[in-house]
Subunit: 321 residues, 2 copies
């Protein structure tokens, strides 16, 4: 955990300035098919087209941009099921910071390879047996590295909030915003942007049914821990929200919905067949809920969080092999 304060919308704006010229300003895509089927207007913020294929680059780059000279020289450590690792590795490469990444043994091969491709050292661990938080801390202590956690860090949250910031700049006020939820970095950052730029917008997190710790936490009023959930949404296999992310989510998020793996596959097929986009299962969470809950006349934002899925895995999930 960081000793920094929980971020505000001002931190998102500062992150947007740091990211300018480094992150892609990803397109906002539309679909007449979805709009005709629901009677709503959908706006898809396509972070699958972000550098390294996911929004995680935003938070990683923002966090590393805030390092002092000594931190940059010593290096960064990170633990991640995949996209945060790649984000840190790429940001570190751009900023000339050595990177050590702790990844689960069952992370998609493509993500491990991409992380190494960005010049990072990868250390593998068993996510069903070992505690990644403890392992990460040990690694950082031994080597003098600055540990950047995947979601519960103010600079990470502020960076992730820039995607919704760009979306709302482009669309103007929305009636609802659907954001995938693992540890809550993207959801809490998005909530900071939406509460400031579109105060009346309903903000919804979306989790896999098997990993509804966020929904439980919001209802209980405290952070609920669960076992590592088994779901195809590998980016949302988190066991609990963070202190910072929960503080923002509890205050600014209206509700948290869940979707089944089958609904994720349906959404993935829709994105591929009708919108010609590859979206990873976790990236389908927001749309899977939004298409079910959309009300006619609503203007609905959806953050499509990433597109990093092995093509073989993609074909298997869609039964297209």
């Amino acid at each position: 955990m960081s000793n920094l304060q929980t971020p505000t919308y001002e931190d998102v704006k500062a992150a947007a300035e740091r990211l300018a010229g480094h992150a892609h300003r990803t397109p906002v895509m539309r679909s007449r098919t979805v709009d005709d089927a629901t009677g709503a207007q959908f706006f898809f913020k396509c972070e699958n087209f972000q550098r390294m294929g996911a929004f995680k680059f935003r938070g990683a780059f923002n966090a590393l941009s805030c390092f002092n000279a000594e931190q940059r020289r010593a290096g960064v450590a990170a633990f991640s099921s995949g996209n945060h690792a790649q984000g840190i590795a790429l940001a570190a490469q751009i900023l000339g910071v050595p990177a050590t990444i702790l990844m689960p043994t069952d992370a998609p091969a493509m993500k491990v390879a991409a992380t190494r491709g960005y010049g990072a050292e990868v250390v593998l661990f068993d996510r069903y047996k070992e505690d990644r938080d403890a392992l990460g801390k040990k690694l950082a202590d031994e080597r003098g590295l600055t540990l950047i956690p995947p979601y519960d860090h103010p600079h990470v949250i502020a960076g992730q909030g820039t995607a919704a910031h760009e979306l709302l700049e482009e669309t103007g006020p929305l009636d609802a915003l659907y954001v995938c939820l693992g540890g809550g970095g993207l959801l809490s950052g998005s909530a900071l942007s939406a509460r400031s730029l579109s105060p009346a917008c309903k903000i919804y997190g979306v989790e896999p049914e098997a990993g509804n710790d966020g929904q439980q936490s919001l209802r209980a009023g405290h952070i609920v821990h669960i076992d590592t959930p088994r779901t195809i949404a590998d980016g949302a296999q988190t066991q609990h929200l963070g202190q910072h992310t929960f503080e923002i989510i509890r205050r600014d998020v209206d509700d948290i919905h869940t979707v089944s793996d089958a609904e994720l596959v349906d959404a993935m097929r829709f994105f591929a067949e009708r919108m010609k986009m590859l979206v990873e299962p976790t990236g389908c969470l927001g749309f899977a809920a939004a298409r079910r809950l959309a009300q006619p006349g609503q203007r609905i934002g959806v953050i499509v969080s990433g597109g990093n899925v092995d093509l073989k895995r993609f074909a298997q999930l869609l039964d297209a092999g």
Copy 2:
């Protein structure tokens, strides 16, 4: 053949006005990976994100917008290996014109289904045995329909030119523009835009090796006819250029390159893995040549023409099943 005159850049501009609010203004995508590998700057105009999944909607909508009241009432006929059919069917649906579409029996099932889904009547024929031009003319004569051919029509060409028009408006002058080539509608329309908006830009058509009639025609100085080529680029299985398209291509196009089916598969994999886009084999023609021929320092435009590929076929081609 139409009795109208071969179009000019003025016709492209008029088409752009007719299409405003009906066609998507598709995004121009970048890839650091491609730029780093080639030393060039690539700008991808992503018509796979166009309505019905390909640039063909542009030409179809422009042509039907020019119908008089009697033509609208009687209806439109079209023959097509797929995307033109869908483009005509969708444009006809929007404009309230009855549509009859002649499609080859081996057209992708997805394209046939989509064409029927837009409310058109589909008539199937064997592309290896029957002459589609004669069949189309017969059908149109019998039913009093206006036949809109897939490429050799001034309004179709002018409509297709609007994609390059949008690209160049966004990028400013380019050093080279790579465009896929079947019958030449997209290439000739693109050439009209590029010659006016970026006079020094090299304009290249790209064909499958198995169907290099365009290259032969440019070198011979007259339209060369070939047998229906067997290639995975089903949108480029044309036997010859048209009168109008050849007139523009001969005047404005600098050269025509060819690529192998293996190069198309490589490009399709790159688009999927690195750019998270589904691109049909024909849509990969421009990039497959451009990545091989790029010179460091060049600013290169590529028209990505469409994304209509069955997911099973996609998985098979990429050996991801």
